[in-house]
Amino acid sequence: MNLAKLPRPSASVVVASLVVLIIVFLLLATLSLSFSSMSISEVNPSGPPISPSELRWLHRGTPRQQIERQFGKGRSALAYPETGIAVEPMNATCTYYPQSLSNVRNVVQLCYSDDKLISKRAYAAPRGAPLQEG
């Protein structure tokens, strides 16, 4: 491309471009301000509990969407208040649900790969006080 053939921008074009740029910037700045200063640790509300009997009915290979429709999205380990002795496979994405609301330290761990359930485990809480939420 021959740059020498490009027309020189006139002053009005430059000013108009800058004004548009400023308006867009101010709009985006307003949007970004509303998201800034948010604690990274904020967590999403967990779904309903999954009892051990309900866990037995879940089969490996069940689509993630189907499980989430029934039990909610659950929480990741970083967002769950206390995962205790749970250990995750590194090749999967895992979510946690309480076994009951009376002690959310008893957890159910569901792990997915390619949005299919590949492992399900229930972990009893280590010794200590029960933890209730809400």
Partner: protein
């Protein structure tokens, strides 16, 4: 020619300003190449001769010329101010767009928040906030309290402000080395004494003193067994959630098996040897964090005194506890751990009177 050289210098200066000094020869060459391209483009575009009106210049009017010169000077100054203003706005806009592209802000915040938690076993972080966007960097603010035996030190608070530049690295050089010393740092740097000597010293301590200590385990311990060990010493939830654990072997863990993944330790430059830790034995959180890291985070992790993603991934694949931090432990508790066959060593940091231990 002048336009070309000017564009080259300006581009080079802007790249240097935003991206920092090039670390390698290839980075320097890339910076020079980009500047050269901009210089050539500007030279071709703006370096043409303008057509000048021909004709009779007319009579020379000295007063009119002076007025014209004054007007010219003022107009040039105004143009410069306006260009600077709009240029700054445009740069800020472009920089904000670049820094927040594709969830980068959230990802970097995640890396720093849990990277700090993993790198600072001596601090209880109580909030990490991200990100205030500046022209050149994103700011992350972390708050917390030191783990210390003395209630005076425990009331100190951390106000750490880190800035991540456009290349995803911290602008501060080794920022964690300048933090106040904690009880855990004191335990790390404590001299070696034998178990018998330590037992004798602990037995002499009066009632009412508490200590910060690092307990080194004899063998790398799975999480379930580690919770059982804590429970045997009456450390149960919620105290367990405030017990930082080390996921790498230490240099001085006498009898501690060090091999494979645990061998790569990192010095933060403060004279202390840190190793990967996690704020509680619930290591599923550590695994979740590591899964979200990319190899491009290696530089930022290094700035936080942590090993690269490959090492962290190896640690997370089969998490084992090599040691842990005991805070506000009384001498009896320390003696109990010293007598435990699963414990290789107890390294005491600071000791203080604390008649109303809070944690």
């Amino acid at each position: 020619m002048t336009w070309g050289v000017g564009a080259f210098i300006v581009t080079f200066a802007v790249l240097w300003f935003f991206l920092g000094a090039p670390n390698t020869n290839s980075e320097f060459l890339v910076t020079v190449a980009i500047s050269a391209i901009m210089g050539v483009a500007a030279g071709l575009w703006l370096g043409r001769k303008r057509s000048r009106p021909s004709g009779d210049p007319g009579e020379f009017d000295e007063r009119a010329t002076r007025r014209a010169v004054r007007r010219g000077v003022v107009r040039t100054a105004l143009v410069v101010v306006v260009w600077l203003f709009f240029g700054t706005l445009a740069l800020g806009f472009a920089s904000a767009l670049w820094q927040q592209r594709g969830g980068r802000e959230h990802h970097l915040g995640l890396v720093v928040e849990h990277g700090l938690a993993s790198s600072l076993p001596g601090w209880r972080l109580n909030g990490v906030y991200c990100c205030n966007a500046g022209i050149r960097s994103l700011e992350v603010v972390a708050g917390g309290n030191p783990i210390s035996a003395s209630p005076l030190n425990a009331n100190q608070s951390l106000d750490l402000r880190l800035h991540i530049n456009l290349r995803g690295r911290l602008t501060e050089s080794n920022p964690l080395a300048h933090l106040p010393a904690t009880g855990v740092d004191a335990a790390f740097s404590s001299g070696y004494i034998t178990d018998a000597q330590l037992r004798a010293k602990l037995a002499q301590l009066p009632h009412g003193v508490v200590a910060t200590a690092i307990v080194e385990l004899r063998n790398p311990t799975p999480v379930t067994a580690f919770y059982r060990l804590l429970a045997r010493h009456r450390i149960v939830y919620p105290d367990t959630s405030d017990t930082p654990v080390f996921l790498q072997a230490g240099y001085l863990g006498s009898g501690t098996q060090s091999g494979g993944q645990g061998d790569q330790l990192v010095s933060t430059g403060s004279g202390l040897t840190h190793r990967v830790s996690w704020p509680s034995p619930a290591v599923a959180g550590f695994q979740d964090w590591v899964k979200q890291l990319h190899s491009s985070d290696d530089g930022l992790l290094h700035d936080l005194g942590l090993p690269g993603v490959a090492t962290l991934r190896a640690l997370a694949t089969r998490p084992r506890v090599y040691g842990f931090v005991l805070s506000q432990a009384d001498p009896k508790e320390l003696l109990g751990f010293l007598a435990d066959p699963h414990v290789a060593a107890v390294r005491v940091g600071d000791i203080a009177y604390n008649l109303t231990p809070s944690s």
